[in-house]
């Protein structure tokens, strides 16, 4: 294919507008997670300009799922930010998950209020494809969610909040909850046992952009 044809394919050919696909009322753009079943259930992935909440107890694969979205976003050439008040990100695990570390801004606030403020600053700056706020633990009552939602809408940034239990409430356009999980161990009698992975059942408990109550099993493997 010639370079001109490639350009036309990307930009759209003259007269190639399909009728009935006007911008009014169209769904917002999405960030795919790379997990086909989940992306299908979410109508394309995690919505830009909206707040998505991903909650689940310890070792249910929430961080792995956030890494999957971050990996796809950085591989698409976008810049992301990872706000990490618990200082829990392991760079080598993130790199193994496919995240382009050079396109990742890692912010390590010392406390949760600072993390909320840092997230607001990042959203206000604009230009980030995805901002992950990895709280990991319950935050309690806060008035920050509407502000973060407003900032995400203005910057068209997908904001993903990872918590251990649902807290964001009505501000989240999309809420995913890990309802159950199974830890897979390989090996058996006479063989060395290894941690093989985690199968997590992710339920769409709230979806203002599509159908809620869909459940998907996400299979995560150890590196």
């Amino acid at each position: 294919m010639s370079a001109a044809a490639t350009l036309l394919d990307r930009l759209g050919r003259p007269g190639g507008l399909r009728l009935g696909t006007g911008s009014s009322g169209s769904a917002p753009h999405h960030l795919p997670s790379g997990i086909d079943a989940l992306d299908t259930a979410l109508g394309g992935g995690f919505p830009r300009g909206r707040l998505t909440e991903l909650s689940g107890p310890r070792s249910t694969g929430c961080t792995g799922l956030a890494c999957a979205v971050a990996a796809r976003t950085t591989q698409a050439g976008e810049t992301i930010a990872w706000v990490d008040p618990q200082d829990a990100l392991e760079p080598d695990a993130a790199a193994a998950a496919g995240i382009a570390l050079a396109r990742t801004l890692w912010v390590r606030p010392r406390a949760v209020p600072d993390a909320l403020r840092a997230t607001e600053i990042l959203l206000g700056a604009g230009g980030f494809g995805l901002v992950v706020l990895d709280l990991g633990q319950p935050v309690g009552r806060t008035t920050a969610w509407p502000r973060l939602l407003h900032a995400a809408e203005r910057s068209r940034t997908a904001l993903l909040i990872v918590t251990s239990r649902r807290e964001v409430g009505a501000c989240a356009a999309l809420a995913l909850q890990v309802t159950s999980r199974r830890v897979r161990w390989s090996g058996g009698p006479g063989r060395r046992v290894l941690l093989d992975g985690i199968d997590a059942r992710v339920t769409v408990v709230r979806n203002r952009l599509g159908r809620p109550a869909e459940a998907v099993v996400v299979r995560q493997a150890c590196a």
Binding site: E78, P91, A94, R108, R117
Partner: protein, 493 residues
């Protein structure tokens, strides 16, 4: 024929005081050389002049007697130096060869500057506008020599351009006092009936030396529009400094930040003239006990955002307050180019470099030093290590035309820093029960041990037996045993 521009602030001490305290603009005030009623009035504003205050001839008490409402302020040499340097920065933003005269006038080579702004009138207008940006009302004159440019600035209409070969016509009607001759020479010339530069220029220079002494020919050359020496450019300065002496000691943070905000605004306005940002910040505080508190504040990225720098100053001063009240403050800014990036046609738009720089600086001020950047994989076999590098915006890369095949989703590890000590009860075939802070339970799945050892050649050597343990509390943990002590350093998630 060279072309020289002169940038001049007529009464620099008064202009510097108004620049440091904009509330003084338009008010009747005088600057004194010292404290007390006998201090000499060194400078006075135009409003004070109009009410009869005469600098150099009056004491503070006499000036007050002339005008009871007169504001008296102590002259601030630091603020005057900053104003003079700000004027030089204005010139440097449009020319590379700039000389600062002793009286604060700035002379610049206009030959290399007109291509930036089109005409010499445009250059004069640009210099005036940029001087206003740094808080100074400057006058500009452009001519064939430093003498002509300086006289055009002082006696012109504020943006006077003397075209080539018309210098004599411009200079001729100006009074002799413009060249500030020595009293003896001035008296002799007055006796001869020479009152203007045109009359002086017509005198024969060779004979003037015998009648007026060595100053005579030089004075005549200047009256004809010539210079005694060429432009001598100043060496370039690597920093921008704004300083102020305080009228009274400040012991509270908020009033001090108010002063520092003013210094920051003025310094960043100067930095902004060059189109660069502030990369490093130096703060020097003069204390009441004559000590000095000097500190250097690095920024995560060059920025021109006042709020960010004030936040950084607040954080630094709150963390380690000065031990005495403040009587003087000086802010030094090290300028550096703000990183630029070329956007791609198909690449997603990333953060703009300047906004990102500001964002990084604000985040660094909020989170602390070394807590904002790009994660880096450490070249070590020890699990859980992390490093952070300065974040630089990569050129955007176009997304692949065809979607890449989905990679398998990986289990991530949440690091626990520092590793948490735990108690582990073992049975014959391995760990059976784990107890620790915020975690614990019976082991329901286990893998390991596998030994990791390294860095034995250094003082940080380690030799650990690692286990993956699934507990009844729901967590899957990465544990290790080292010297008969157990730790958890990660959670699979």
């Amino acid at each position: 024929m060279p072309r020289i521009a002169c940038l001049l602030v007529p009464d620099l001490p008064v202009a510097a005081a108004c620049r440091a305290d904009p509330d003084l603009a338009g008010r009747a005030f005088a600057l004194t050389d010292g404290l007390g009623p006998h201090a000499r009035v060194a400078a006075a504003s135009a409003a004070a002049h109009a009410r009869g205050v005469r600098p150099g001839r009056m004491s503070a008490a006499q000036a007050r007697a002339v005008d009871a409402d007169l504001l008296l302020r102590l002259r601030d040499p630091a603020a005057e130096r900053s104003a003079a340097r700000a004027l030089a920065d204005v010139a440097l933003s449009l020319a590379s060869r700039v000389e600062t005269a002793a009286d604060g006038a700035v002379l610049l080579d206009a030959d290399g500057a007109t291509h930036l702004v089109g005409t010499e009138a445009g250059l004069a207008a640009a210099l005036t506008a940029r001087a206003a940006r740094v808080g100074l009302a400057a006058r500009v004159g452009i001519g064939a020599s430093m003498t002509v440019a300086r006289l055009a600035a002082r006696h012109g209409d504020g943006g006077e351009v003397v075209p080539p070969d018309t210098e004599m016509g411009f200079l001729a009607p100006l009074p002799l006092a413009c060249l500030a001759p020595s009293p003896d020479v001035a008296a002799t010339l007055a006796r001869w009936g020479v009152r203007t530069l045109g009359e002086l220029a017509r005198l024969p220079a060779a004979e003037a030396a015998t009648r007026l002494g060595p100053d005579g020919p030089a004075l005549i050359r200047r009256a004809r529009g010539g210079d005694e020496r060429p432009l001598a450019p100043d060496p370039p300065s690597a920093t921008v400094e704004e300083a102020a002496a305080l009228e009274y000691p400040i012991a509270l943070l908020e009033p001090l930040l108010f002063v520092l905000r003013g210094l920051t605004e003025r310094a960043l306005a100067r930095v902004g003239l060059q189109g660069v940002g502030c990369a490093r910040l130096g703060l020097a505080l003069g204390l009441e006990d004559r000590a000095r508190d000097v500190r250097e504040l690095p920024l995560a990225a060059p920025t021109r955002d006042v709020k960010t720098i004030v936040m950084l100053l607040r954080t630094a001063l709150e963390a380690t307050p000065p031990h005495a009240a403040i009587v003087a403050a000086a802010l030094t800014v090290v300028p550096e180019a703000v990183r630029a990036a070329q956007l791609g046609l198909f690449a997603p738009p990333g953060p703009s470099p300047e906004r990102l720089a500001t964002t990084l600086a604000r985040l660094a001020a909020l989170c602390g030093d070394g807590r904002v950047g790009a994660p880096v994989v450490v070249d070590s076999h020890r699990p859980g290590l992390a490093a952070i590098a300065p974040f630089a915006l990569l050129p955007p890369s176009a997304p692949p035309a065809a979607p890449t095949p989905a990679a398998p989703c990986r289990v991530a590890v949440r690091a626990l820093r520092p590793p948490r000590p735990v108690e582990v009860f073992t049975e014959r075939d391995g760990p059976a029960f784990v107890r620790g802070a915020a975690l614990g339970g019976r082991v329901v799945g286990a893998a390991g041990p596998w030994r990791l050892a390294g860095e034995w050649w250094s003082t940080h050597g380690f030799a650990r037996d690692y286990y993956d343990l699934e507990l009844t509390d729901g967590g899957v943990y990465r544990c290790y045993r080292e010297r008969d002590r157990w730790f958890v350093d990660g959670v699979y998630d």
